[in-house]
Amino acid sequence: MTGNTSTQRMPSYLEYQGKYTGIRAWILSTDHKRIALLYLYSQLFFFLAGLVMGLFMKLELIAPGRQIMGPATYNALFTVHGLTMIFLFIIPGLAASFGNFMIPIMIGAKDVAFPKLNLFSWYLFVFGAVIVLLGIFTGDGPPDTGWTFYAPYSLKTNTNVVLTVFGAFVLGFSSILTGLNFIVTIHRMRAPGMGFFRMPLFIWSLYGTAWIQLLATPVVGITFLMVVADRVLHIGFFDPAQGGDPVLYQHLFWIYSHPAVYIMILPAMGAITEIITTFSHRTVFGYKAIAMSSLAIAFVGYLVWGHHMFTSGMSETARLVFSFLTFLVAIPSAIKVFNWTATMYKGSISLEPPFWWAMAFIFIFMIGGLTGLVLGSVSTDVHVHDTMFVVAHFHYIVFGGAGIAFFAALHYWYPKMFGKMYNKKVANRALLLLFIGFNVLYMPMFFLGFMGMPRRYYDYLPQFANLNLLSTIGSWILATALIIIIVNLLRAKKGTPEEMDDPWGGRTLEWKIQSPPSLENFEEIPVIDHEPYELIEK
């Protein structure tokens, strides 16, 4: 490694005084690190909003019968909860916040390729969110279609579908432009010597993600526009009364929304790879296999969308094809898990909080993945489709996978981003509490699903009462744990530069610079002369 370690400290990007002061120094900044924090804060805000909605839903489900709300409110609530969590929290996900922060640093650049476009993407994100919110609070009330907007109901309901769908369209463009920016950055901005196969694996996962963002999002974008056109102009694309085919809507929706699962989960896997490697103090096992599996997942993941439609009336042939393809994607995902395990094998593992987060991720994600196989084969799926089993499954994947990885990344890079360290003991205990709460909340839903409790109802039959009560109690444990975690992060203490610059003994570039990084990340662009994750003597 050349440079940087001995040079004097620069003012950090947090302190840096530019042309603007106050809030404008943030919302007009084109520095990728400040934009990353803008995303981080907005995402956490939406996450908490969605969390509150989830808690209300669970409260309604605490016992059979009407508790605190009627069916209409419940329908609106699960729709808005889903929309918020999906489009405002987890689709931007790790890419928009941690990706934005880390890509330039990890590849040895001073910023992304198009800094202004980067800021513009954040504005689009906020603009889209505002439109979605307007859709909730104006007109004839929040949409009650579910976040999937299935036709023909989404064409017939009186609620405010048009605005919400349009908001989602705008959010899609924000996502596309972020992906575009990242691809160009990775192609053009790598430091001298930083070949493609020397990039950290987090970058590889973001590269695959960016391609999905770029190629899948426009399909749902145009589909949402068609829904708007159907509602406003009565074209009838998806209205059976006019010859439209609602199943075709489902195809188009899932052509995006299945790959969207990989938009959420690939960066998560990338971050987990970084964490496991760092805390095992070894070079990663099977570097190329992990890198390539990211691309393989991105590619095959594009072709399996139909597993969401096994009961939609799709043809028998299509069901077989999709079922087969779905089992194929399990392969590259499994490759990653095996490589993580092999990386830890004979490593000298230090049991710091981010490592425990990564372990929680692997455990929960595996349950999510294995139950996914139940849903991926036609014969079992028809029994549990649209039951609580599905709700449990996707929370295990999306929340337990991507969501937990988000917090894992936050704990891992927190000292780097803020130059502060949280209380590790509290962090570990809170994680344990979260882990318990998570499983108490969602595990019963698997059983409820097997017993036949359908999803998206505010009420249920008496025989489901006990497990639902348990699940609701789980939601309180989980919420408590999340509050502790966030408070613990907020109360983190400033450390000395020696403690903060590289608290974990990381081997990627971000640990070679000061914490928090200076405005330009590197005073002098580094020259890379070693393989990824190789130990460099300082």
Partner: protein
Amino acid sequence: MEQNHVAHTDHFDPVASKLGMWLFIFTEILLFGGLFIVYSVYRFKHPVEFHLAAEELNVTIGLINTIILLISSMTVAMSITALQLGNKKLTMILLAVTLVLALVFLVNKYFEWGAKIHHDIYPGSEFLMSLSKGDMLFFGLYFFMTGLHAIHIIVGMVLLAVVFVKVRNGSVNQGRVSLLENGGLYWHLVDLIWIFLFPLFYLIH
């Protein structure tokens, strides 16, 4: 949007912006791609109605518009050559010709749509609602796809107009053709989409 800091954002990488443009074109292709999927599914389901409905469209206007767009594609391509050879005046002339051709395309479209609407054929019209499902879908797709394409023409025109101004004031010049090249790429994309729209809507006989 002014820079908060200038130090590292003022470098210019033409390869990066070209790559960015291509990536953007890929999204556009898939945006229209979604519509082409819808088109092919419905045409597969209603072959006869699509066939008959297409007879309503005027092949001659379609053909003229196709040729107009092809010519405009060439003039843009030539304007790049002209700028690379340092001929600023010719660049501007060729860009102006392109813009005029685009305008003619839109005027044709306007009359074409106008005639349809005059005959009570437009999405949601009473007359269209009384026709078969295949007819409704055909004309729905026709208006939606050509409409979206027209919007892209307008966006392309704005882009090329901006480039025109920049060529005139010299910020796009022989040493820095990137913006013109990217504007050109976008314009060719608009042409590319029309190349498929034309046979799919006008030439089903």
